[in-house]
Symmetry: C2
Subunit: 259 residues, 2 copies
Amino acid sequence: MSGGRLSMESGGGAASTPRTLPYYVAFSQLLGLTVVAMTGAWLGLYRGGIAWESALQFNVHPLCMVIGLVFLQGDALLVYRVFRNEAKRTTKVLHGVLHVFALIIALVGLVAVFDYHKKNGYADLYSLHSWCGILVFVLYFVQWIVGFSFFLFPGASFSLRSRYRPQHVFFGATIFLLSVGTALLGLKEALLFKLGADYSKFEPEGVLANTLGLLLVCFGGVVPYILTRAEWKRPSQAEEQALSMDFKTLTEGDSPSSQ
Amino acid sequence: MSGGRLSMESGGGAASTPRTLPYYVAFSQLLGLTVVAMTGAWLGLYRGGIAWESALQFNVHPLCMVIGLVFLQGDALLVYRVFRNEAKRTTKVLHGVLHVFALIIALVGLVAVFDYHKKNGYADLYSLHSWCGILVFVLYFVQWIVGFSFFLFPGASFSLRSRYRPQHVFFGATIFLLSVGTALLGLKEALLFKLGADYSKFEPEGVLANTLGLLLVCFGGVVPYILTRAEWKRPSQAEEQALSMDFKTLTEGDSPSSQ
C-alpha cells in the first residue's frame, strides 16, 4: 500500500515482469488445480462419483462451485497481474471471458443442487452455507452488471471508471473470498451429514476433506496476496496514462505532461 | 489502490478526517457489537448460558473467540483509520494493547474448549474448524512476534520497517478474515451437532445462528473496506515523512525535500 506511488512512478517505463511474480502465479495455479483435483478425488473415492440423472447429481454441485467460483474466479482476478504487459483491452476481455465461464459453471452447480433437493423432497435454503451462497450469487450478479456497464460498455467516462475501479476491485476480492468461505461451509456440512460422530475418529474421508479445506484457504490467501503487492500492479499503458492524467488533473491540478 | 498517490500527496496537509469515514466506523462498531450481543443471546437462549465449572464450559469458547479474534482483532486493525490524526506512537501502542486483549481473551476461549473436551473424553483437533483455528493461532502468534520486533522494539531501521509493513498489513487482514471464516465453521458445526435434521425445518435457533453468521460476514467485509480505501489512509506525520523520504531516496533517487 505504501508503495502505491512507487508502482505508478515506475509504471511509465519499459514493459517488464517482476522477478518473483511468475513463481507466485505458478504456485497459485498449482494450488488451484490441486484443489479441483482433490475435490474430484473426494467425490470419486468417498461419494460414488458424478452423474446428472441419479442420486449422484448432488456431487455436481461441489465440483462445479470449486471449478467456477473458486478456481476460475480466482484466475479471472489474476489476469491483470499475469498479463500485466498486454494491452488493457485484451486483458479486460480475458477477465470477462473467465468470469463468463465461472458464472456458467456455477449456474450448472446451482441447478444441480436445487434439482437434487426437489427430486428428493429436501428443504432449500435453510443452512448458513446456502444463505452465504445466495449472498455470493447476488453480489456476483450485481458486480457483473455494474462491471460490464462501466468497463466493457464504451459509454462510461474515464473519471467515472477511475472512481468506480477501486470499488470493483474491492468487491471482486470480497466475492472471491466469500466464495471460498462458502465452499468451506459446504464441505463441513457434507462431512457432518455423512460422517456424524465418526468425523472425530479421524476417518480417511475427514482427513482428506480437512486437507482440501486448508488448501482452499491457501488458494484464498495466495490470490489476494498477488493482487495486493503494490510492486506487482499493472504498469500504466497508453490507454491508462490518459486516464491517470485525467484523474490527476481533476484531483491535483497537475499538468498532464508531468508523467 | 489507484488513489495511492493521491492519499500520499494530500497527506502532508493539515489534520482532517474524511467526511464519510466516521459513518463507516460507526457502522462497523454497531455491527461488531451486534455480533457479540447476538452470540451471547444465542448461547443464553439456546445453549443454557455460560459457566466455567460445568457442562456450560464449552460455551465460553464461542463467546471468547468472537469477542477476541473477531471484534477486538477487527478494531485493532481499524485504529490506524479511527485515530488517523493522532501521533503514530500513540496509535501503535493502542493497536498493540487491543491485540493483547484479543490474544488473552482468545487464549481463555482456547483453554475452555480443550478443557471441556478433556473432561468429557472428546477427541481434539479432528475437524476443519479446529484445523483452521490452529492455523489462525500459529499465524497470529508469528505475526505478534514479528510485528513486535519490527515496530515496537526500537532496533529496526526505517527501511526495514517500510519493507515489512505491507506484509504485516496483508497478514493482519488475512488472519482477521481467517478468524471470521473459522467462526462461521464453528457456528455451523455447533448447529449441525445439535439440530441435525431439524436444521432444515427452519428452527428458531438455526435462523438466529444463520443471521449471526451473515452479520459476521458483514463485519468481515466492512473492516477490510475501511482499511483499503486509499483516501482514508493515515496522512503522513512527521515521523513517517522521515521514513517515506528515506524510502523515496532509496528507491527513486528523488530529493528528500520534494514533499
